[in-house]
Symmetry: C2
Subunit: 517 residues, 2 copies
């Protein structure tokens, strides 16, 4: 934790200043849908059985400081990351080699792979894939180099259900509003200038990417109207985050959308003889739609698959002609194992997928060292570090699968390994902790303000639409149709909590206040 | 209640159709600030002390049917009403004669008049007045004439704190959204066409009127920055209604705004030697603003004035150079007594204030017969009707003051008069009940749906900025600077409830689905 990077910010507030700020946060947020459904602890279900109540999404009262050079670095590398991960997701042979190491130890990945193989056997009927990625970073300052400049280091790369794009646009607008009404004390005026608060463009950009995929699908061949499906969890507290993207897709692009709960896939969809995915809304049983794009905001976590029926539902979708965002290959490209393989020192894989040297170098600069936990030379070194109580304090141990949660931090790692069979160790990766600069902010959540030291995580969205090639029956090579950076997200958590997932009940959504450091 | 005017509408919904409709209402409304703070019965204060929860504002699930000819009639007469009421508010001598009849029986009006006289004594320093009026109507079909066409009849004319302009724009957009996603059954498609759902423009129009007044005030003479004050009740459950207008004023017109609770007037404002009104926000004690416009969303109800200090606060504002929306004269022009004097059959007053014969005739067509309850010939006739249990069923007895509530309906009137001293009778007016056509709708409020017969009330906003003249020390004559219709509101209540005020816990906000009848 580097301590002297930022100017003093934000100022202490008088009771009147805080009251003014909070009143405006509470009213503006609800007036603009910067909201979540309340937790059951806040409002018990029986009190509001129809779920009509909402509250301000967890937000910071001030935009957090963020080095301009780091922000530009992260945005600048977004299209290279799109290239990289679309290339990985299109190289089935390579992915197979990587994934096969996990099959015995990660049942979820094994099941996903099985679904992929079944579709492959039958032959795929859709060669377009959409990736709505989010690469998450923290600012890192090398603690061993007193003249070190800050740079971003990647925390993880998300290839499925990258969330908070909807709320990000709104929280950025909130902070700009608060600034415009002088809710920020004069002493911050020189810091939070117009130029320091870039717009968060995730809502229009993510919607644009989905509209491009929708049109690239081509006209309906079934003579039915077309639609985009948001595959969702039900219930979903973070529904407004998703709705903002959906409404932009409706309003800006005239695309019809429906929310399909994961549990209802087999009830409400069917495949026609050409494997076109047909959706019949329960409220309108006589009218069906041909699905152009399946946008996954569900199905990424093992605990959503409770039975064979759920895996059958996933296979049903994967077999279909709808463009998947993401396909199973793209989802698997997002495993921590792939991140580790790329970021293991001296790894040859990055330049294989990114032959452009400038792109590869830019991506490489964002990697923090990551080690496998297997029996390779790098893995044996990692095992030694992770079991050493002193060395372990510089690391985090992460499971390879998506969805957050269950990271093991620093001094808890040795004990965790003792209680875990060694055969399961390779299901994790060991990553050097990123040491972000210290700063202070206030987080408003569930009607309460907490002020103190915070840690920020920057996510940069990337949108990539590509067409896969097939060589000898395997996915290999691809043509990138669209590739653009799609806005940013800042998530901020109290330093007491080591996880960064706001939906999981920690942290908050935030926006950047850029500083030249 | 005429029963055969409208086509069958809306259709009965299956459980799945209602679920789809409701889910979309709940999510869209919060995403777009069509919201209120929950009632204490819904969410007890101690559960949410900071007041961070919100819920969907009471809304209809479908836009209610409304005859196109009636909608056009009401909108078409808005600028004539602006002329009429700005003329009345500028004729102090005439108002005095009308108000003086009430001084002994209505202490609230007497106090307002006293405040006006005190300012008059000292001399007024602001000759501009802004009226943001709302004229409320119901569709009426003469039950005694089988070939009668529907027309609108005025329920009341509001000259202070005309509410729901903010939510009206949003509920109209909600209903259009629901239509665009086919949440309305196919059988309503021929009724709720694009052409049948006019935009509700109240938010941009009300904000535009306030911006025009703000600019007409002229530059600050105190060298301070300028602002508009929203004078508000605290707490205010209907805060988002007000915020939408405020945000439009900020965003579309770059005008600074502050919310000033009625109780804090004397704490947070002061008059300079030229009686410029200076506002010092509690959160920023070293920075003051010159107030250009005072927009009253409080101070209209007797129960807000709890002590001499509150009346002193009102005097303090009235003395100031800020443009008042409304001034006390304008507020008094909105008493039911004035409405009655204009609408008493054969009244000469309308053409006095509206010399343009077409305008006067158009306004006259919107009047339902209204009688005084005094000892004039018309008043004696009214007393006879009101005490007759059979005749009384065609009438409503209304207090002369603003703010809704306390109307006495139909068969309850005779008993009410028996229990009220005769000297207080002239504090009321007697109005023939308007007989609107029957229709059905569903109202969603506090998380619950109620379906059944409903009654709709159309409000048309009018914006008028004028400069008063002075003749022999009295306000007389004026120059109208701006005069435009400023959008509409539809409020809909279950037929079981005879009051129309949504804020008071009855009814809902709605939008029109125009039909050619």
């Amino acid at each position: 934790m580097a301590n002297d990077l930022y100017p003093a910010y934000p100022p202490d507030l008088t009771a009147e200043q805080e009251a003014y700020l909070l009143t405006n946060v509470k009213d503006w947020s609800i007036a603009h849908g910067l909201a979540v459904r309340p937790t059951p602890a806040y409002v018990p279900t029986k009190q509001d059985p129809s779920g009509a109540l909402a509250t301000t999404a967890p937000v910071t009262l001030f935009p957090s400081l963020f080095p301009r050079v780091c922000f530009e670095q992260a945005k600048g590398v977004a299209t290279a990351y799109n290239e990289l991960y679309s290339a990985i997701a299109s190289d089935e042979g390579w992915l197979k080699g990587t994934v096969e190491e996990l099959l015995e130890i990660d049942d979820f990945i094994a099941q996903l792979w099985k679904v992929h193989l079944k579709v492959k056997e039958e032959g795929d009927v859709q060669d377009l894939s959409l990736g709505l990625f989010r690469s998450d970073y923290m600012v890192h300052i090398d603690p061993t180099d007193s003249s070190a400049k800050p740079s971003v280091k990647q925390v993880e790369f998300n290839t499925i259900a990258s969330s908070f794009g909807g709320l990000s646009t709104q929280v950025s607008a909130l902070h700009k509003h608060l600034r415009s009404i002088d809710a920020y004390h004069d002493s911050t005026a020189s810091t939070s200038t117009d130029d320091a608060l870039p717009d968060a463009t995730s809502v229009p950009k993510l919607a644009e990417a989905m509209a491009l995929a929708h049109r690239a699908y081509g006209p309906s061949s079934s003579a039915l109207p077309t639609c985009v499906i948001f595959l969702v969890q039900d219930p979903e507290r973070n529904v407004f985050d998703q709705r903002h993207v959906e409404y932009a897709l409706n309003t800006n692009h005239g695309v019809r959308t429906f929310r399909l709960p994961f549990q209802r896939i087999l009830d409400d969809t069917a495949l026609d003889p050409d494997r076109k995915l047909l959706y019949t809304p329960p409220h309108s049983p006589s009218k069906s739609y041909e699905v152009t794009l399946l946008y996954f905001r569900a199905g990424y976590s093992p605990d959503e698959y409770k039975s064979d029926r759920d895996w059958h539902a996933r296979l049903h979708l994967e077999r279909s002609a709808a463009i998947k965002c993401p396909s199973i290959l793209t989802q698997l490209a997002g495993t921590k194992k792939v991140q580790q393989v790329l970021a293991t020192p001296q790894s040859p894989h990055l330049k294989h997928f990114l032959p452009n040297e400038n792109q590869a170098a830019a991506v490489l600069r964002t990697f923090a060292p990551i080690y496998p936990m297997d029996k390779s030379p790098a893995g044996l070194e990692a095992r030694r570090l992770a079991q050493n109580p002193s060395a372990a304090t510089r690391f985090v141990l992460k499971p390879q699968r998506e969805g957050g949660g269950n990271n093991i931090y620093r001094s808890s790692i040795p004990q965790f390994l003792k209680s875990t069979p060694e055969s399961h160790w390779p299901a994790h990766i060991l990553m050097e902790m990123i040491e972000p600069p210290a700063q202070k902010n206030s987080i408003f959540r569930n009607g309460e303000v907490a002020t103190g030291g915070v840690i920020c995580e920057l996510g940069v969205y990337g949108a990539c639409l590509w067409r896969s090639g097939v060589v000898n029956g395997e996915r290999r090579g691809r043509e990138v149709v669209e590739n653009f950076e799609a806005g940013y997200l800042l998530r901020t958590k109290g330093m007491g909590s080591e996880e960064g997932g706001v939906a999981a009940g920690f942290g908050s959504v935030d926006s950047v206040c850029l500083v030249d450091v």
